[in-house]
Point group: C2
Chain length 448, copies 2
């Protein structure tokens, strides 16, 4: 029998789990600062819920075996379950975050922090609102998280699906090929233009002239000046959707300026995003000081039609959201902080030590007293452990205090308390033990 | 397309998610008080890891579809993944908690808080220690959690697999039928003796005399007096394993008395526990004041051989642990507290309000200032929302403060602050806005 976790998955041992929780807590703090509530959905959905939402990526969905009953599949992201929840409960307005694992049968490079099972941290705003106000807040949320996690300099690439559609139309792509050409453009962050060009011509059947014209557009990247240039592009001007998209982006850039994140933004026509469901603004955050292979660490966009797909009446609930790829951020921090023996994995405040043989029942009494007062306490699970071994255990585990129980002291109603780091010891009365311990924990500044 | 969650699963909406998180936080607090570190493992395991661990219940395991690659299955509990982790990493000693969802293709009664996807909260102690010291702490942990969650009176039933084996031997059950007879005994909490008796005779092929003798033993339930009686039982006396089991239970009861949980304990020979892997003490907590259908809310026991099953050298790592059925506890609390509109699901401290048209850019500036100071703030995503609608939103969402932005006040460098509950308003200077808001939040006692 092979002793391993499934391909593309990993365990998080205590030190990694502690570090990851700290990372997640900071992400949650940002989500909550922006007023989001949380939601939890099942790890699997009816297969039909996931069907037709992910384009080419559908082949990466994990199906469950047919063991009788409903066809099921593991969730591929948290966005589709969110949309299903909104439609099912007829919710028209919601700001929610969801932190949970998603599943993709990819061939990920685990060395670069990419897995088949990985956490996503999603923040989404659903509701019929005025243009770009929720969209700007999503970008602000990404910027706050990446700034606070201190992962170095980053750029948020920005584009618009309707603008891309306009570009495709101008270049002469037939309408029914918009989505598939969009998938090709999406590969530009991983492949050179020549490869993508060949794919468009050979696999997708486009004209060379069309493809080269697309190539001109998608190499554009900039800010307001690019926006101005595109707004006065004679051909794009004729396409209403593209003009509205440019107006959206102009407004978004204005809001981003007020939110003091302009210098992070890059309006980038090569950004396409893989998934089918986007309908408006799309964005993706990439780290600048990190090797390319880390790729994007956050991405999202507007998907105004997804909820309607679940709704028998097709009631539209416009949504915009962002997903933080916490696993890659964790992988960067893990390498940086050298996860290891120095990370404290327990919160024990007091270790109850036997000074000599025959004291385990007294130890249990003292432990019980500490627990009932809410003090975090442990002891050795040996009846007669060696004194030195117990003290070494305290040092190794960075437990701040030891209560040392000895026959002589007990006869006088006392125990010895040792500050583990300084090795200072003093006698305290059993009667005032709890208060004394509390005082010492405060002095030693042990977080509760 | 059917718009539902898969059979036996549920969403947790914001109010339920908040309540469940509170419940989990209290459970975690107890686990940490006892010094446990946490661990996270993948939601699926290699199929072979789960094979041969669950006896009859194996048929309830969710398999993943064969899509090429390794045969995988969703975890059935958190114990087997823990044992796999210990063996794989050659860990000989560990106290860990793990809170995560597990999956069982059962036909659960969702009205009673039983699901196919449900959270387990596990606490386990692995290591070679002196008898019953870790076991007693597991029982203490269960008692603390059930006491602190305030779910009413409860009993912890206690038994020992080696004692049951002794009973079976005394009654004349062939050794190779011990486990299957054990499964029959396990059904006694759901079926009357007559039905179980018939199953043993007709399906398991035991003598009537054997079965009736088993019936006598498994109807026994008590405390020290029962222990004394069994210890002097002439037939059991001849079986070394049974005698050692009785000595274990005697020691455990002594430790439980020191931990002040004796009055909760019932030594109950009908307790068998379904799973194959237990090798020693077993226990199960049941609520007294709740309808029977809730069943057990916690269960566990000693499994000394499980880690060795994963280990090529069969290195033994003795373990004992407990699993809290948080979903059932949640279901009880949910009914009791009437989850609903009164549960606050966001933590927003300040809502920034436009007093009239044309102020959305100023609102964004103020919001950005609040966020950058770590204050939890929101606004309407409409450019020109109605004043009344904004104030009503604050009241409905229980947001404590509103900053009301108006042209006249802004010209004087001021904004109005409203305490939402009391509707008291006052003007504050934009220069000191942050301090004033902080002061008010402290006065209103808004938790950070």
């Amino acid at each position: 029998m092979s002793l391993k976790t499934p391909k593309g998955t990993r365990d998080y041992g205590p030190a990694e789990a502690v570090l990851r929780q700290r990372l997640l807590d900071r992400v949650i703090q940002v989500f909550r600062r922006h007023g989001a509530a949380t939601l939890d959905t099942p790890v699997f959905e009816l297969r039909s819920v996931l069907t037709g939402k992910y384009g080419d990526d559908s082949k990466l969905i994990y199906d469950l075996k047919d063991q009788g009953g409903e066809p099921l599949a593991l969730r591929y992201d948290l966005t589709v379950p969110f949309a299903r929840y909104l439609a099912m409960n007829n919710v028209r307005q919601m700001k929610r975050y969801h932190i949970a694992k998603v599943y993709r049968r990819d061939n990920p490079q685990v060395t670069h922090g990419r897995y088949r099972e990985f956490y996503q941290c999603d923040f989404d705003i659903a509701g019929t609102y005025d243009p770009m106000l929720p969209d700007a807040e999503c970008i602000k949320v990404v910027a706050e998280i990446l700034t606070e996690l201190d992962v170095g300099d980053f750029t948020v690439k920005l584009n618009h699906r309707r603008l891309l559609d306009g570009v495709f139309e101008v270049c002469g792509v037939p309408k029914d090929k918009f989505r598939t050409v969009c998938s090709s453009v999406d590969k530009l962050d991983k492949m050179p233009w020549d490869t993508v060009r060949r794919e468009m011509i050979e696999e997708k059947g486009l004209d060379e002239r069309t493809v080269d014209q697309i190539g001109c557009y998608v190499s554009e990247c900039g800010g307001i000046e690019l926006l101005d240039r595109l707004s006065s592009d004679g051909q794009l001007n004729a396409i209403e959707g593209a003009m509205r998209a440019l107006a959206d982006i102009r407004l978004l850039l204005q809001y981003c300026a007020i939110f003091k994140v302009s210098e992070r933004i890059s309006f980038d026509l090569s950004l396409a995003r893989g998934l089918d469901y986007y309908t408006g603004v799309i964005f993706e955050a990439v780290l600048k000081d990190t090797p390319d292979e880390v790729g994007s660490v956050a991405g999202g966009g507007r998907y105004d039609d997804l909820v309607g797909m679940f709704n028998p009446k097709r009631t539209k609930v416009p949504c915009v959201g962002v997903s933080i790829g916490i696993e890659r951020l964790f992988s960067i921090q893990e390498k940086r902080t050298m996860v290891g023996k120095s990370t404290r994995t327990n919160e024990t405040e007091v270790f109850v030590v036997s000074a000599h043989r025959g004291l385990h029942l007294r130890r249990l009494e003292i432990l019980n007293q500490l627990w009932s007062e809410g003090i975090k306490a442990e002891h050795s699970y040996k009846q007669n452990p060696k004194l030195l071994a117990q003290l070494q255990h305290c040092e190794k585990r960075q437990i701040p205090l030891a209560i040392i129980v000895g026959e002589g002291e007990l006869a006088r109603g006392m125990v010895k308390v040792r500050e583990v780091a300084s090795r200072q010891e003093e006698y305290i009365s059993l009667d005032t033990m709890i208060e004394e311990i509390r005082k010492k924990l405060t002095t030693l500044n042990v977080p509760e």
